[in-house]
Amino acid sequence: MAATDTPILAVTGNEAVAEAMRQIDPDVVAAYPITPQTEVVQIYAQFVADGKVTTEFITVESEHSAMSAVVGSAAAGARTMTATSSQGFALMWEMLYIAASYRLPIVMTTVNRALSGPINIHCDHSDTMGGRDTGWIQLYGEDHQEAYDDTIMGIRIAEHLDVRTPVMSMLDGYVISGAIGPLQMLPDEAVKEFIGPFKAINPLLDSEHPVTVGPFDGLHGWYFEHKATQQRAMDRSFAVIEQVSEEFAELTGRKYELLSPYRMDDAEMALVVIGSTCGTTRTVVDQLRKKGVKAGMVKVHVFRPFPVQAFIDLLGSCSVVGVMDRADSFGAQGGPLFLEVRSALYDLPKRPQIVPIIYGLGGRDIFPDNIHEAFAVLQKAAAGETLPVERTYLNLRKDRV
């Protein structure tokens, strides 16, 4: 069966991720169940029980231990994966830095969910946006297909010798993870061939060539240089991500960009969006275009490394840009995506006005009308009205805050 000739399945986002993991068949998976990622762990446990994978599956007692165990197995020299959400991601926190700084090519699915408190199990991007400086590459998927594709491409990106940096790939909790959507899988053999064999670097199991992984690196040590090499790896990862995307496109016909523009060629105003809300935004862009409004959208696929040049290329000629954050940075000028997009465009001789927009926290619904509201703010700015300095909240009960 050709790689593009497989049937289209109806699956949940979690099933899509679990299937990708089955096809990758990593040496080790250590994971702890958490809503809404739970299904990934359960399905994978069934794959293990059914003998569909040869993975050593470790049912640890916490996410801190999940990330610790995959640090151990990856340092031992094994291809290693895990998955988490929200508080689990937060509990992994200190170990995320260990994984990245030890240059362990772990691939982790994170099903995005709000962080407590108050407790909330629904989608927003607070968890992984909070982890944007941990040193992991971050891929954000829009739908079921992308969740699957990112998982497979993530292996190649993380393990590439120019990169050797862990990758987290995201999908929106519930909206994608729990909802049914279309998925076209690759044949198992095609995935095996695409990812290739794992190559361990200085594995702990090599007793004849002992190394100490992550030794003390104190005041007169090399800590600073090690941090700079992490940034070098991030710089190099752009070319690797594009190369892997290119190869993946040859295999599947699905080409992923760092940023995906929608009707941006002549756009005067644009929204920058991450995740499942991109679909709603496209619909609204189409409606506005019918009315003659030159609206467009930029979807963020890769947030780390941050594709500055791609943002400049796509947004530089707009007069006004709204940046949609599904996470906030309390006390800052706006959400994390806003801060970085505005910074990216700062050096342009003529730069667009940029509006911070917050939406969808804790799974708050985002309707087409809400996207229209966002564009209405941009239209006012384009017409010369003074821009709001404060965040624009979409679908917030404004009379209650």
Partner: protein, 327 residues
């Protein structure tokens, strides 16, 4: 005190070099000697060491130097049993019979790492976990831990600690792990035998070593071994081992050494609030408990280095992915 024999063995042993010369451990550091004895007991075998935040992660030296002559991974305070889980599982996948050893202080064991130790013990991971217990957070300047004795002065209990020492052995024994034992640096044969017993068994093996810390104990660096001998002799640090969490064996009984012989040589116990009577009562209670357990659940004749070797574990994942190897 016969240290001559020990020194000879240490010197003759540097070829194994789990823990090499040139490290930055303090004079009289029990941890440093303990690592050398573990090396001797393993007789040249090269384990993988998993070391959380503690003196053993700082004293090996700064990158690119390391005192560890075997593969080692440094990790965060609470994570060593979980990191070791990952290492050990990959070992098993490859069908390799080489130990994975966690080497952690009492802070990482009794306190911040307790949940992860419990997790690994409950899963019966194939790990040897050794706690070097100096009864304080030594690496950060000697703060209290739950291993600190009541009445002891630390930098966070300047007037003496109020709470009793946590019975970490009982906690681990309750997990019904294959082996749990206490280690004394004053009982070298017993120490080496226990490491070898642990080496021959499978699953989660836990040992706790009383580790002299002259800086924290306010004691003479030359007296560390004598202090451990006194701690065992007065009954404060019982030497015993428990098989499968059920069968007890006491290895050394109190020999009449006065409690004061242990306490008076350490500045940490010179507090007005130190309650000698309460400490004696706690020792008596501990021994009553151990005696009762040994009587009710005896381990039988001593299982020394003649414990039959367990067969190496079968590879738990077939060759589908091939063995994990270096480049």
């Amino acid at each position: 005190m016969n240290v001559t024999g020990v020194e000879e063995e240490v010197h003759s042993h540097t070829e194994h070099a789990l823990w090499r010369a040139g490290n930055g451990a303090c004079a009289g550091c029990g941890m440093s000697l303990g690592l050398q004895w573990v090396d001797q007991a393993l007789d040249g075998e090269k384990p993988t060491m998993v070391v959380p935040a503690c003196c053993a992660v700082v004293t090996p030296g700064s990158y690119p130097t390391t005192a560890f002559g075997v593969p080692a991974v440094a990790t965060t305070f609470a994570s060593s049993p979980s990191v070791a889980t990952g290492v050990s599982r990959v070992r098993q996948m490859n069908g390799e019979d080489i130990p994975t050893i966690c080497w952690a202080g009492d802070g990482g064991t009794y306190d911040i790492g307790l949940a992860t130790i419990s997790g690994a013990a409950e899963r019966n991971e194939d790990i040897i976990y050794i706690c070097y217990d100096n009864e304080i957070y030594g690496n950060t300047g000697g703060q209290r831990s739950s291993a600190t004795l009541p009445g002891a002065r630390t930098s966070t209990t300047p007037a003496g600690k109020h709470e009793p020492k946590k019975d970490i052995m009982a906690v681990l024994v309750a997990h019904r792990i294959p082996y749990a034992a206490t280690l004394s640096l004053a009982h070298r044969d017993d120490f080496l035998r226990k490491i070898r017993v642990a080496r021959r068994l499978r699953g989660f093996r836990f040992m706790v070593m009383l580790s002299p810390c002259p800086a924290g104990w306010k004691s003479d660096p030359a007296e560390g071994i004598d202090l451990v001998r006194a701690a065992v002799g007065c009954g404060l640090f019982p030497l015993y081992e428990v098989f499968d969490g059920r069968r007890y064996r006491i290895n050394a009984r109190p020999d009449g050494t006065a409690l004061e012989d242990y306490l008076s040589r350490q500045g940490r116990f010179r507090t007005p609030s130190f309650d000698h009577a309460a400490t004696r009562a706690a020792i008596a209670e501990q021994w009553a408990y151990l005696d009762a357990m040994e009587a009710a659940f005896p381990a039988g004749p001593r299982e020394g280095s003649d414990v039959p070797a367990a067969p190496p574990p079968p590879p738990i994942a077939p060759e589908a992915n091939g063995p994990v190897t270096g480049p």
